[in-house]
């Protein structure tokens, strides 16, 4: 038998989608990226869901912690933005809000006035040992500084969850766990809560899916920056059958996985890719977290961009995290990971535009 020829990956298609009614949510590095994407393109979004994520550009809180910019931002990310010892050694919401205003004035992100009527779901597990609740509280205060009313923010910090997206799947880890795949059983489906808070009057989730989750070619959105983008060859999208048949989608919800949760994640054991033991965390994230069922009954398209691990010094990102500390930047001293020009943000927004037929 001859070896079958691998077919060309599918191109992301366009559908009828309501204008600028989109939203984004993510866990951990996906939550940090959610904040960045939300601010960079706030004109496109009506809300965001942030699970264990820090405020905008917090990795630049204290540049003078190292000689080299890339070292300083890595130290900031690890110790100020993830595990600060006390609230006063955590990201400063007031300072970062001012930094965001400067970034908007420079035209590098959409005007911040777009945020005023957005709805935010912000969650931190009280047993999270990876991204401290102190940091997530700073994210809440950051948005309040930018004019998002506290009535629009659903802030939850009382659930005894570890670092995870909470699911209703009994096969997932115990609630207080802080380890991969970062999918913890908590007796409720967090993705449903996120979508309900953002969009309001939603139908209950479908019991079965009307369509299939499909892969698409991500590389066409990366262009010449593919080598430093740290994004996988494929992304995934769920389009309810009604939308495929011509109904107008209520919006696109972008789901950003956390570190070690991309479809192509391979653990680096002592610096070597352990490709013989590739964990299926990514597939679980896109199929079992509940987004698709809620989207199905409400004609919402779900877009799952995928980051990938890379430890070759071109993009220092072995865990396949989204870039929130500048690893994709050609010039670390002048990072642009947070702006509309950032390679990952540019690619994800191009996917969104494609789905909307722009």
């Amino acid at each position: 038998m001859s070896v079958p020829k691998r077919p060309e990956p599918a191109r992301l298609q366009a559908y009828n989608v309501a204008r600028n009614q989109h939203s984004v949510s993510g866990l951990s590095s996906g939550a940090f990226m959610t904040v960045q994407l939300h601010l960079a393109h706030s004109a496109s979004f009506v809300g965001a869901g942030i699970i264990a994520g820090g405020p905008y550009r917090c990795a630049e809180s204290f540049r003078n912690t190292a000689l080299l910019a890339e070292d300083a931002y890595a130290l900031n990310a690890l110790y100020i933005c993830m595990t600060p010892l006390t609230p006063k050694t955590a990201p400063n919401a007031e300072y970062l809000a001012e930094l965001a205003r400067d970034t908007a004035r420079a035209g590098r992100i959409d005007p911040l006035a777009n945020l005023a009527d957005d709805r935010l779901y912000i969650f931190t597990g009280s047993r999270d040992e990876v991204v401290s609740s102190i940091v997530v509280d700073s994210t809440r205060r950051f948005y309040e500084q930018l004019g998002v009313g506290s009535g629009q923010i659903k802030y939850i910090d009382t659930v005894p969850a570890g670092h995870s997206i909470v699911t209703n799947n009994i096969e997932d880890s115990p609630l207080g766990t802080n380890q991969p795949p970062y999918l913890n059983y908590g007796g409720f489906t967090q993705s449903h809560d996120i979508l309900e808070h953002i969009y309001g009057d939603l139908q209950p989730p479908a019991t079965g899916l009307s369509a299939a989750l499909t892969s698409f070619d991500q590389s066409e959105f990366l262009g010449d920056d593919a080598a430093c983008a740290s994004m996988g060859a494929f992304g995934y999208v769920y389009v309810p059958k009604a939308v495929q048949e011509g109904a107008t989608a209520r919006g696109v919800h972008i789901v950003l996985h956390g570190c070690k949760q991309g479809y192509s994640y391979i653990n680096y054991a002592f610096g070597r890719a352990d490709s013989a033991n590739q964990p299926p965390y990514g597939n679980r994230y896109i199929t079992t977290t509940g987004y698709n069922h809620m989207a199905d009954s409400n004609n919402i398209i779900v877009l799952y961009p995928q980051a990938t691990g890379d430890d070759d010094n071109q993009a220092q990102n072995p865990d396949g995290c989204w870039d929130w500390w500048g690893y994709t930047c050609a010039n670390p001293s002048e990072p642009d990971y947070y702006s509309k020009d950032a390679v990952q943000i540019r690619a994800i927004h191009a996917m969104l535009r494609r789905l909307c037929g722009d």
Binding site: F62, R63, Y79, P84, L85, N92, E94, Y95, E98
Partner: protein
């Protein structure tokens, strides 16, 4: 570059007054040039330069922090600062206890694994098993050492961030700087 009026923490623009001399723009440029040159030459040299850069970072941070500490607490320590320092110390101890707890669990699991030899019914399996015991031992030591260095870095960076923020506050408004008093 941002032109924020806030100076509570250092931003990416021109270094504030609290920046130690070793972290000036020319030093950063020299470090970047050294790292770039080393990367293009021999891997061993690149390793040495990187280690040197990181140690220089630590030394520069320590020097800057010492100066900042001396200036901030020149007339004594404000009660609020005492409280913050105690909170930092408490948080560091709690992190250390949590690490120790994890280490003990790791060693208990290793002891259990090393104490069992059932299933090794071929010579190749026996060799694999004995090798695993040794590898797991070194993995545990390596992970614990990494944890410890991480905690130390966390404390250093956290204190540096805080004390330099306090210094910037003091320099911004010396007239309203709180009068120091002993801790209660």
């Amino acid at each position: 570059m941002p032109s924020t009026p806030l100076r509570l923490v250092a931003s990416t623009d021109a270094p504030p007054a609290a920046v130690p001399p070793a972290l000036s723009g020319s030093a950063a440029a020299a470090a970047a040039a050294a790292a770039s040159l080393a990367a293009k030459t021999h891997p061993a040299l690149a390793h040495a330069v990187k280690a040197g850069t990181l140690q220089t970072d630590r030394a520069a941070r320590a020097l800057g922090d010492a100066r900042a500490t001396a200036e901030v607490f020149a007339g004594g320590v404000d009660p609020a600062d005492w409280q913050e320092l105690l909170q930092m110390q408490d948080a560091a101890w709690r992190r250390l206890y949590a690490l120790q707890d994890g280490w003990l669990k790791g060693w208990a699991q290793w002891m259990q694994y090393a104490g069992q030899i059932r299933g090794a019914n071929t010579l190749s399996k026996l060799v694999e098993r004995e090798s695993n015991i040794g590898v797991q031992f070194s993995q545990l030591l390596s992970a614990q050492f990494t944890d410890l260095v991480g905690l130390q870095e966390n404390i250093e960076v956290g204190y540096s961030y805080w004390i330099n923020g306090r210094l910037a506050e003091k320099r911004r408004s010396p007239a309203t700087w709180p009068a120091p008093s002993p801790p209660s």
